[in-house]
Protein backbone atom coordinates (compact mmCIF):
# COMPACT_ATOMS: atom_id res chain seq x y z
CA UNK A 1 0.00 0.00 0.00
CA UNK A 2 1.35 3.44 -0.90
CA UNK A 3 1.90 6.09 1.77
CA UNK A 4 -0.60 8.93 1.36
CA UNK A 5 0.42 12.51 2.10
CA UNK A 6 -1.70 15.53 2.92
CA UNK A 7 0.11 18.76 2.00
CA UNK A 8 -0.90 21.98 3.78
CA UNK A 9 0.66 25.30 2.74
CA UNK A 10 -0.83 28.65 1.70
CA UNK A 11 1.71 28.94 -1.12
CA UNK A 12 0.85 27.08 -4.30
CA UNK A 13 4.51 27.14 -5.31
CA UNK A 14 5.55 25.37 -2.11
CA UNK A 15 2.78 22.78 -2.51
CA UNK A 16 3.90 22.13 -6.08
CA UNK A 17 7.55 21.72 -5.07
CA UNK A 18 6.59 19.41 -2.20
CA UNK A 19 4.54 17.34 -4.63
CA UNK A 20 7.56 16.97 -6.93
CA UNK A 21 9.90 16.03 -4.09
CA UNK A 22 7.53 13.52 -2.48
CA UNK A 23 6.34 11.91 -5.70
CA UNK A 24 9.94 11.11 -6.63
CA UNK A 25 9.40 8.14 -4.31
CA UNK A 26 7.17 5.65 -6.19
CA UNK A 27 5.68 4.38 -2.91
CA UNK A 28 4.42 7.81 -1.94
CA UNK A 29 1.37 9.66 -3.22
CA UNK A 30 -0.31 12.99 -2.49
CA UNK A 31 -3.91 12.38 -1.45
CA UNK A 32 -4.85 16.01 -0.86
CA UNK A 33 -3.76 19.62 -0.60
CA UNK A 34 -5.03 22.47 1.54
CA UNK A 35 -4.12 26.15 1.70
CA UNK A 36 -5.27 26.82 5.27
CA UNK A 37 -5.59 25.06 8.60
CA UNK A 38 -9.37 24.81 8.84
CA UNK A 39 -9.83 23.11 5.49
CA UNK A 40 -6.78 20.94 6.20
CA UNK A 41 -8.50 19.53 9.31
CA UNK A 42 -11.59 18.74 7.19
CA UNK A 43 -9.50 16.99 4.54
CA UNK A 44 -7.62 15.14 7.28
CA UNK A 45 -10.90 13.68 8.57
CA UNK A 46 -12.12 12.85 5.08
CA UNK A 47 -9.00 11.45 3.41
CA UNK A 48 -7.24 9.65 6.30
CA UNK A 49 -3.68 10.48 5.13
CA UNK A 50 -0.69 8.58 6.53
CA UNK A 51 1.51 11.69 6.83
CA UNK A 52 0.77 15.42 7.00
CA UNK A 53 3.25 18.07 5.84
CA UNK A 54 2.12 21.30 7.47
CA UNK A 55 3.06 24.97 7.09
CA UNK A 56 3.30 27.10 10.26
CA UNK A 57 2.23 30.61 9.26
CA UNK A 58 -1.03 30.50 7.32
CA UNK A 59 -4.19 32.57 7.12
CA UNK A 60 -6.61 31.63 9.90
CA UNK A 61 -5.37 29.09 12.43
CA UNK A 62 -1.62 28.46 12.38
CA UNK A 63 0.18 25.15 11.88
CA UNK A 64 0.51 24.46 15.62
CA UNK A 65 -3.23 24.87 16.19
CA UNK A 66 -4.00 22.81 13.07
CA UNK A 67 -1.70 20.04 14.28
CA UNK A 68 -3.25 19.87 17.73
CA UNK A 69 -6.72 19.52 16.18
CA UNK A 70 -5.45 16.72 13.93
CA UNK A 71 -3.68 15.02 16.84
CA UNK A 72 -6.95 14.90 18.76
CA UNK A 73 -8.59 13.13 15.82
CA UNK A 74 -5.83 10.64 14.98
CA UNK A 75 -2.77 10.90 17.22
CA UNK A 76 -0.82 8.18 15.43
CA UNK A 77 -0.57 10.01 12.13
CA UNK A 78 2.83 11.75 11.92
CA UNK A 79 2.75 15.49 11.27
CA UNK A 80 5.80 17.32 9.95
CA UNK A 81 5.94 21.09 10.41
CA UNK A 82 7.53 22.66 7.36
CA UNK A 83 8.41 26.26 8.20
CA UNK A 84 10.60 29.30 7.56
CA UNK A 85 10.71 29.92 11.29
CA UNK A 86 12.32 26.79 12.72
CA UNK A 87 13.66 27.51 16.21
CA UNK A 88 14.00 25.59 19.50
CA UNK A 89 11.02 27.45 20.97
CA UNK A 90 8.82 26.72 18.01
CA UNK A 91 9.93 23.08 18.18
CA UNK A 92 8.87 22.89 21.83
CA UNK A 93 5.43 24.29 20.99
CA UNK A 94 5.23 21.96 18.00
CA UNK A 95 5.99 18.92 20.14
CA UNK A 96 3.25 19.90 22.59
CA UNK A 97 0.81 20.00 19.67
CA UNK A 98 1.76 16.47 18.65
CA UNK A 99 4.08 17.37 15.79
CA UNK A 100 6.78 14.75 15.25
CA UNK A 101 9.32 16.81 13.43
CA UNK A 102 10.13 20.38 12.35
CA UNK A 103 11.84 20.89 9.01
CA UNK A 104 13.24 24.22 7.87
CA UNK A 105 11.90 25.35 4.50
CA UNK A 106 15.28 26.79 3.69
CA UNK A 107 17.00 23.49 4.13
CA UNK A 108 14.43 20.98 2.92
CA UNK A 109 16.99 18.40 1.87
CA UNK A 110 16.84 16.22 5.02
CA UNK A 111 13.06 16.01 4.82
CA UNK A 112 12.77 12.92 2.69
CA UNK A 113 15.11 10.89 4.87
CA UNK A 114 13.35 12.11 7.95
CA UNK A 115 9.92 11.10 6.68
CA UNK A 116 11.28 7.64 5.84
CA UNK A 117 12.52 7.36 9.42
CA UNK A 118 9.16 8.54 10.78
CA UNK A 119 7.28 5.97 8.76
CA UNK A 120 9.44 3.16 10.02
CA UNK A 121 9.14 -0.38 8.65
CA UNK A 122 5.34 -0.29 8.33
CA UNK A 123 2.87 2.33 7.25
CA UNK A 124 0.74 4.21 9.74
CA UNK A 125 -2.82 3.04 10.06
CA UNK A 126 -5.79 5.22 10.90
CA UNK A 127 -7.29 4.30 14.22
CA UNK A 128 -3.99 2.78 15.38
CA UNK A 129 -4.43 4.89 18.52
CA UNK A 130 -1.66 5.57 21.01
CA UNK A 131 -0.21 8.91 21.96
CA UNK A 132 1.89 11.06 19.72
CA UNK A 133 5.40 10.03 20.58
CA UNK A 134 8.46 8.88 18.72
CA UNK A 135 8.28 7.22 15.32
CA UNK A 136 8.50 3.83 17.03
CA UNK A 137 4.93 4.14 18.38
CA UNK A 138 3.68 3.90 14.84
CA UNK A 139 5.07 0.40 14.21
CA UNK A 140 2.58 -1.25 16.62
Amino acid sequence: MRTRFLIVDDSELVRKSLRTVLQANPDWEICGEAADGESAVELFKELHPNVVILDFQMPGINGIETASRMSQIAPAVPIVLFTQHASPDLERHAREAGIRSVVSKTNAFPMVGMIEALLGPTNTEWGAGGSAGSAKDLAD
Partner: protein, 365 residues
Protein backbone atom coordinates in the same frame (compact mmCIF):
# COMPACT_ATOMS: atom_id res chain seq x y z
CA UNK B 1 -7.62 81.04 12.70
CA UNK B 2 -8.82 84.66 12.40
CA UNK B 3 -10.36 85.65 15.72
CA UNK B 4 -8.63 84.52 18.81
CA UNK B 5 -10.43 82.41 21.34
CA UNK B 6 -12.16 84.46 24.09
CA UNK B 7 -11.24 83.78 27.71
CA UNK B 8 -13.42 84.36 30.79
CA UNK B 9 -12.60 87.15 33.22
CA UNK B 10 -14.39 87.07 36.56
CA UNK B 11 -14.86 90.39 38.38
CA UNK B 12 -15.86 90.15 42.05
CA UNK B 13 -17.04 93.14 44.07
CA UNK B 14 -19.96 93.70 46.43
CA UNK B 15 -20.51 97.20 44.98
CA UNK B 16 -22.37 97.11 41.62
CA UNK B 17 -20.95 100.51 40.68
CA UNK B 18 -17.38 99.23 40.83
CA UNK B 19 -18.27 96.18 38.77
CA UNK B 20 -19.68 98.51 36.09
CA UNK B 21 -16.48 100.56 36.16
CA UNK B 22 -14.27 97.45 35.70
CA UNK B 23 -16.55 96.32 32.91
CA UNK B 24 -16.16 99.66 31.13
CA UNK B 25 -12.37 99.50 31.50
CA UNK B 26 -12.00 95.89 30.35
CA UNK B 27 -14.65 95.83 27.62
CA UNK B 28 -12.18 96.86 24.98
CA UNK B 29 -10.13 93.66 25.56
CA UNK B 30 -12.87 91.72 23.77
CA UNK B 31 -12.88 88.96 26.39
CA UNK B 32 -15.93 87.49 28.08
CA UNK B 33 -16.59 89.45 31.30
CA UNK B 34 -18.48 87.84 34.19
CA UNK B 35 -19.70 89.79 37.24
CA UNK B 36 -20.10 88.38 40.75
CA UNK B 37 -21.51 90.35 43.72
CA UNK B 38 -20.09 88.09 46.43
CA UNK B 39 -17.44 85.50 47.15
CA UNK B 40 -20.09 82.79 47.06
CA UNK B 41 -21.39 83.89 43.67
CA UNK B 42 -17.79 83.95 42.43
CA UNK B 43 -17.27 80.34 43.55
CA UNK B 44 -20.42 79.31 41.67
CA UNK B 45 -18.99 80.79 38.47
CA UNK B 46 -15.58 79.20 39.07
CA UNK B 47 -17.12 75.77 39.41
CA UNK B 48 -19.13 76.15 36.23
CA UNK B 49 -16.72 77.93 33.87
CA UNK B 50 -13.07 77.92 32.93
CA UNK B 51 -11.85 81.27 34.31
CA UNK B 52 -8.58 82.86 33.18
CA UNK B 53 -8.40 85.90 35.46
CA UNK B 54 -10.16 86.78 38.72
CA UNK B 55 -10.25 90.47 39.54
CA UNK B 56 -11.45 90.96 43.10
CA UNK B 57 -11.98 93.37 45.87
CA UNK B 58 -10.19 92.56 49.11
CA UNK B 59 -12.92 93.86 51.44
CA UNK B 60 -16.24 92.17 50.96
CA UNK B 61 -18.88 91.18 53.51
CA UNK B 62 -19.11 87.49 54.45
CA UNK B 63 -16.30 85.95 52.34
CA UNK B 64 -13.52 88.51 51.83
CA UNK B 65 -11.03 88.50 48.96
CA UNK B 66 -8.26 86.76 50.89
CA UNK B 67 -10.55 83.98 52.08
CA UNK B 68 -11.88 83.52 48.58
CA UNK B 69 -8.29 83.33 47.23
CA UNK B 70 -7.50 80.61 49.78
CA UNK B 71 -10.51 78.59 48.67
CA UNK B 72 -9.61 78.99 45.01
CA UNK B 73 -6.03 77.84 45.53
CA UNK B 74 -7.09 74.75 47.45
CA UNK B 75 -8.83 73.37 44.38
CA UNK B 76 -6.38 71.66 41.99
CA UNK B 77 -8.37 72.72 38.94
CA UNK B 78 -7.98 76.40 39.87
CA UNK B 79 -4.20 76.40 40.45
CA UNK B 80 -3.48 78.24 37.23
CA UNK B 81 -6.06 81.05 37.60
CA UNK B 82 -4.48 84.53 37.80
CA UNK B 83 -5.87 86.42 40.81
CA UNK B 84 -5.62 90.22 40.85
CA UNK B 85 -6.64 92.05 44.04
CA UNK B 86 -8.03 95.58 44.03
CA UNK B 87 -8.17 97.44 47.30
CA UNK B 88 -8.87 100.91 48.59
CA UNK B 89 -7.72 99.96 52.07
CA UNK B 90 -5.13 97.40 53.27
CA UNK B 91 -2.34 99.09 51.39
CA UNK B 92 0.69 98.27 53.56
CA UNK B 93 3.49 96.05 52.29
CA UNK B 94 2.31 93.42 54.74
CA UNK B 95 -1.13 93.42 53.09
CA UNK B 96 0.46 93.08 49.68
CA UNK B 97 2.70 90.26 50.90
CA UNK B 98 -0.34 88.56 52.38
CA UNK B 99 -2.00 88.71 48.95
CA UNK B 100 0.99 87.33 47.07
CA UNK B 101 1.34 84.51 49.59
CA UNK B 102 -2.23 83.56 48.76
CA UNK B 103 -1.18 83.19 45.16
CA UNK B 104 -2.16 86.57 43.77
CA UNK B 105 -0.34 87.73 40.66
CA UNK B 106 -0.94 91.45 41.32
CA UNK B 107 -2.24 93.89 43.92
CA UNK B 108 -3.73 97.10 42.60
CA UNK B 109 -4.65 100.05 44.76
CA UNK B 110 -7.55 102.44 44.25
CA UNK B 111 -7.85 104.76 42.40
CA UNK B 112 -7.42 102.40 39.50
CA UNK B 113 -5.63 103.71 36.40
CA UNK B 114 -7.77 102.22 33.57
CA UNK B 115 -4.90 101.74 31.08
CA UNK B 116 -2.77 99.96 33.70
CA UNK B 117 -5.55 97.63 34.81
CA UNK B 118 -6.40 96.80 31.20
CA UNK B 119 -2.73 96.11 30.35
CA UNK B 120 -2.28 93.83 33.37
CA UNK B 121 -5.44 91.83 32.71
CA UNK B 122 -4.50 91.52 29.03
CA UNK B 123 -1.14 89.91 29.92
CA UNK B 124 -2.79 87.24 32.05
CA UNK B 125 -5.64 86.64 29.63
CA UNK B 126 -3.08 86.09 26.84
CA UNK B 127 -1.02 83.82 29.06
CA UNK B 128 -4.06 81.70 29.84
CA UNK B 129 -4.98 81.49 26.17
CA UNK B 130 -1.47 80.43 25.19
CA UNK B 131 -1.27 77.86 27.99
CA UNK B 132 -4.58 76.44 26.84
CA UNK B 133 -3.41 76.35 23.22
CA UNK B 134 -0.20 74.59 24.26
CA UNK B 135 -2.16 72.00 26.21
CA UNK B 136 -4.36 71.34 23.18
CA UNK B 137 -1.36 71.09 20.87
CA UNK B 138 0.36 68.75 23.31
CA UNK B 139 -2.68 66.55 23.41
CA UNK B 140 -2.85 66.52 19.60
CA UNK B 141 0.85 65.65 19.40
CA UNK B 142 0.42 62.80 21.82
CA UNK B 143 -2.52 61.42 19.85
CA UNK B 144 -0.56 61.80 16.63
CA UNK B 145 2.53 60.11 18.00
CA UNK B 146 0.46 57.20 19.33
CA UNK B 147 -1.17 56.86 15.93
CA UNK B 148 2.23 57.04 14.19
CA UNK B 149 3.64 54.29 16.40
CA UNK B 150 0.62 52.10 15.71
CA UNK B 151 0.86 52.79 11.96
CA UNK B 152 4.57 52.01 12.02
CA UNK B 153 3.91 48.69 13.77
CA UNK B 154 1.18 47.85 11.28
CA UNK B 155 3.37 48.79 8.31
CA UNK B 156 6.28 46.71 9.61
CA UNK B 157 3.95 43.77 10.17
CA UNK B 158 2.66 44.12 6.61
CA UNK B 159 6.14 44.27 5.03
CA UNK B 160 7.30 41.27 7.08
CA UNK B 161 4.19 39.39 5.99
CA UNK B 162 4.81 40.34 2.34
CA UNK B 163 8.38 39.08 2.59
CA UNK B 164 7.14 35.84 4.09
CA UNK B 165 4.44 35.36 1.49
CA UNK B 166 6.39 36.38 -1.60
CA UNK B 167 10.09 35.58 -1.11
CA UNK B 168 9.62 32.78 1.43
CA UNK B 169 7.96 30.29 -0.94
CA UNK B 170 10.52 31.07 -3.68
CA UNK B 171 13.37 30.25 -1.32
CA UNK B 172 11.62 27.07 -0.16
CA UNK B 173 11.03 25.95 -3.76
CA UNK B 174 14.66 26.71 -4.70
CA UNK B 175 15.86 24.75 -1.70
CA UNK B 176 13.68 21.75 -2.58
CA UNK B 177 14.79 21.81 -6.20
CA UNK B 178 18.41 21.93 -5.12
CA UNK B 179 17.72 19.04 -2.79
CA UNK B 180 16.36 16.97 -5.68
CA UNK B 181 19.39 17.83 -7.79
CA UNK B 182 21.76 16.96 -4.96
CA UNK B 183 20.37 13.41 -4.97
CA UNK B 184 21.59 13.12 -8.56
CA UNK B 185 25.16 14.31 -7.90
CA UNK B 186 26.59 11.03 -9.16
CA UNK B 187 25.19 11.82 -12.60
CA UNK B 188 26.64 15.35 -12.54
CA UNK B 189 30.25 16.25 -13.30
CA UNK B 190 32.45 17.50 -10.43
CA UNK B 191 32.25 21.09 -11.67
CA UNK B 192 28.45 21.07 -11.91
CA UNK B 193 28.20 19.46 -8.47
CA UNK B 194 30.38 22.24 -7.09
CA UNK B 195 28.19 24.93 -8.64
CA UNK B 196 25.16 23.21 -7.15
CA UNK B 197 26.85 23.19 -3.78
CA UNK B 198 27.52 26.93 -4.15
CA UNK B 199 23.90 27.51 -5.11
CA UNK B 200 22.83 25.70 -1.97
CA UNK B 201 24.97 28.04 0.11
CA UNK B 202 23.59 31.09 -1.73
CA UNK B 203 20.03 30.00 -1.06
CA UNK B 204 20.88 29.54 2.59
CA UNK B 205 22.39 33.05 2.80
CA UNK B 206 19.45 34.54 0.96
CA UNK B 207 17.12 32.84 3.36
CA UNK B 208 19.06 33.90 6.43
CA UNK B 209 19.16 37.54 5.38
CA UNK B 210 15.50 37.65 4.43
CA UNK B 211 14.67 36.04 7.73
CA UNK B 212 16.72 38.61 9.69
CA UNK B 213 15.08 41.53 7.89
CA UNK B 214 11.64 40.07 8.38
CA UNK B 215 12.25 39.29 12.06
CA UNK B 216 13.55 42.79 12.77
CA UNK B 217 10.50 44.26 11.07
CA UNK B 218 8.05 42.07 12.89
CA UNK B 219 8.80 38.85 14.77
CA UNK B 220 6.53 36.10 13.37
CA UNK B 221 6.48 34.18 16.65
CA UNK B 222 5.00 37.21 18.45
CA UNK B 223 1.58 36.85 16.83
CA UNK B 224 1.61 33.09 16.62
CA UNK B 225 2.99 31.84 19.93
CA UNK B 226 3.53 34.96 22.05
CA UNK B 227 5.86 37.50 23.58
CA UNK B 228 8.29 35.29 25.49
CA UNK B 229 9.37 32.98 22.61
CA UNK B 230 9.59 36.05 20.37
CA UNK B 231 11.87 37.88 22.86
CA UNK B 232 14.01 34.78 23.29
CA UNK B 233 14.40 34.32 19.56
CA UNK B 234 15.13 38.02 19.04
CA UNK B 235 17.74 38.01 21.84
CA UNK B 236 19.45 34.97 20.31
CA UNK B 237 19.59 36.61 16.88
CA UNK B 238 20.79 39.90 18.38
CA UNK B 239 23.56 38.14 20.33
CA UNK B 240 24.71 36.39 17.15
CA UNK B 241 24.75 39.60 15.06
CA UNK B 242 26.22 41.95 17.69
CA UNK B 243 28.53 39.68 19.73
CA UNK B 244 26.88 41.10 22.86
CA UNK B 245 26.22 38.26 25.31
CA UNK B 246 22.53 38.36 26.24
CA UNK B 247 21.05 36.62 29.28
CA UNK B 248 17.29 36.28 29.31
CA UNK B 249 15.10 35.57 32.32
CA UNK B 250 11.41 35.28 31.47
CA UNK B 251 8.66 34.22 33.86
CA UNK B 252 6.60 31.57 32.04
CA UNK B 253 3.45 32.44 34.04
CA UNK B 254 3.08 35.62 31.99
CA UNK B 255 1.59 33.60 29.14
CA UNK B 256 -0.21 35.45 26.34
CA UNK B 257 -0.95 39.16 26.72
CA UNK B 258 -3.15 41.51 24.66
CA UNK B 259 -1.56 42.10 21.20
CA UNK B 260 -0.91 45.82 21.84
CA UNK B 261 0.93 44.98 25.08
CA UNK B 262 2.96 42.22 23.42
CA UNK B 263 4.11 44.41 20.53
CA UNK B 264 4.91 47.37 22.81
CA UNK B 265 6.95 45.30 25.26
CA UNK B 266 8.74 43.66 22.34
CA UNK B 267 9.58 47.06 20.81
CA UNK B 268 10.83 48.39 24.17
CA UNK B 269 13.20 45.42 24.52
CA UNK B 270 14.27 45.78 20.88
CA UNK B 271 14.99 49.50 21.37
CA UNK B 272 16.94 48.84 24.59
CA UNK B 273 19.13 46.19 22.93
CA UNK B 274 19.74 48.51 19.97
CA UNK B 275 20.92 51.18 22.44
CA UNK B 276 23.15 48.66 24.22
CA UNK B 277 24.79 47.81 20.91
CA UNK B 278 25.01 51.33 19.45
CA UNK B 279 25.78 53.48 22.47
CA UNK B 280 26.76 51.61 25.62
CA UNK B 281 29.89 49.73 24.55
CA UNK B 282 28.72 46.93 26.85
CA UNK B 283 29.63 43.35 26.01
CA UNK B 284 26.71 41.97 28.00
CA UNK B 285 23.01 42.59 28.33
CA UNK B 286 20.39 41.14 30.65
CA UNK B 287 16.66 41.01 30.01
CA UNK B 288 14.18 40.16 32.73
CA UNK B 289 10.42 40.07 32.22
CA UNK B 290 8.37 39.18 35.26
CA UNK B 291 5.14 40.11 37.00
CA UNK B 292 5.77 42.71 39.74
CA UNK B 293 2.24 42.38 41.03
CA UNK B 294 -0.74 40.36 39.97
CA UNK B 295 -1.63 42.82 37.22
CA UNK B 296 1.65 44.66 36.68
CA UNK B 297 4.39 43.46 34.39
CA UNK B 298 7.97 44.73 34.69
CA UNK B 299 10.46 44.63 31.90
CA UNK B 300 14.07 45.22 32.81
CA UNK B 301 17.02 45.58 30.43
CA UNK B 302 20.50 46.12 31.93
CA UNK B 303 23.95 46.54 30.49
CA UNK B 304 27.46 47.09 31.86
CA UNK B 305 28.37 49.88 29.49
CA UNK B 306 29.54 53.45 29.93
CA UNK B 307 26.11 54.84 30.81
CA UNK B 308 24.04 57.45 29.04
CA UNK B 309 25.37 60.93 28.27
CA UNK B 310 24.06 63.44 30.82
CA UNK B 311 23.02 66.98 30.08
CA UNK B 312 22.77 69.30 33.11
CA UNK B 313 22.61 66.30 35.39
CA UNK B 314 19.53 64.94 33.66
CA UNK B 315 19.51 61.90 31.38
CA UNK B 316 19.82 62.62 27.66
CA UNK B 317 17.22 65.00 26.35
CA UNK B 318 14.95 64.29 23.42
CA UNK B 319 16.79 65.30 20.29
CA UNK B 320 19.88 63.25 20.99
CA UNK B 321 19.97 59.85 19.31
CA UNK B 322 19.25 58.25 22.66
CA UNK B 323 16.36 60.59 23.26
CA UNK B 324 14.34 59.73 20.16
CA UNK B 325 14.26 56.06 21.08
CA UNK B 326 13.50 56.87 24.69
CA UNK B 327 10.63 59.21 23.78
CA UNK B 328 9.23 56.46 21.58
CA UNK B 329 9.41 53.98 24.45
CA UNK B 330 7.82 56.46 26.84
CA UNK B 331 4.98 57.14 24.40
CA UNK B 332 4.32 53.43 23.92
CA UNK B 333 4.19 52.88 27.65
CA UNK B 334 2.09 55.99 28.29
CA UNK B 335 -0.46 54.62 25.82
CA UNK B 336 -0.71 51.49 27.96
CA UNK B 337 -0.82 53.44 31.23
CA UNK B 338 2.71 52.26 32.08
CA UNK B 339 5.93 53.97 33.11
CA UNK B 340 9.59 54.03 32.10
CA UNK B 341 12.45 54.47 34.54
CA UNK B 342 16.11 54.80 33.60
CA UNK B 343 19.05 54.37 35.95
CA UNK B 344 22.36 55.19 34.36
CA UNK B 345 25.91 55.56 35.68
CA UNK B 346 29.41 54.95 34.34
CA UNK B 347 28.93 51.32 35.38
CA UNK B 348 25.96 50.70 33.13
CA UNK B 349 22.35 51.46 32.36
CA UNK B 350 19.16 49.82 33.56
CA UNK B 351 15.86 50.52 31.86
CA UNK B 352 12.76 49.45 33.78
CA UNK B 353 9.35 49.54 32.15
CA UNK B 354 6.20 48.82 34.12
CA UNK B 355 3.08 47.85 32.20
CA UNK B 356 -0.36 47.24 33.69
CA UNK B 357 -2.12 44.20 32.23
CA UNK B 358 -5.82 43.58 32.63
CA UNK B 359 -5.56 39.90 33.44
CA UNK B 360 -3.98 38.36 36.51
CA UNK B 361 -0.67 36.63 35.81
CA UNK B 362 -0.75 33.52 37.93
CA UNK B 363 1.59 30.59 38.02
CA UNK B 364 0.45 27.91 35.62
CA UNK B 365 1.65 24.32 35.67
Amino acid sequence: MGEQEQVNILMVDDQPGKLLTYEAILNELGENLIKARSGKEALDHLLRTDIAVVLMDVSMPELDGFELADMIRQHPRFQKIAIIFISAVHLTDLDRLNAYQRGAVDYISVPVVPELLRAKVRVFADLHRKTHQLEMLNRDLRTLSARLLATQDEERRRIARDLHDSIGPLIAALSMNNGMLAQQTKKLGTEVAEVLQQNNQLVEQLSKQTRTISHLLHPPLLDEIGLLPAIKMFAEGFAERSSVKVDVELSPEIGRLPPNVEISVFRVVQECLTNVYRHSGSKTAYIKIAPAQEKLLTVQVCDEGKGMPRTNGAPASPGSNHGVGLSGMRERLRELGGTLEIKSSDKGTTVIAAVPVNKPMVKSV
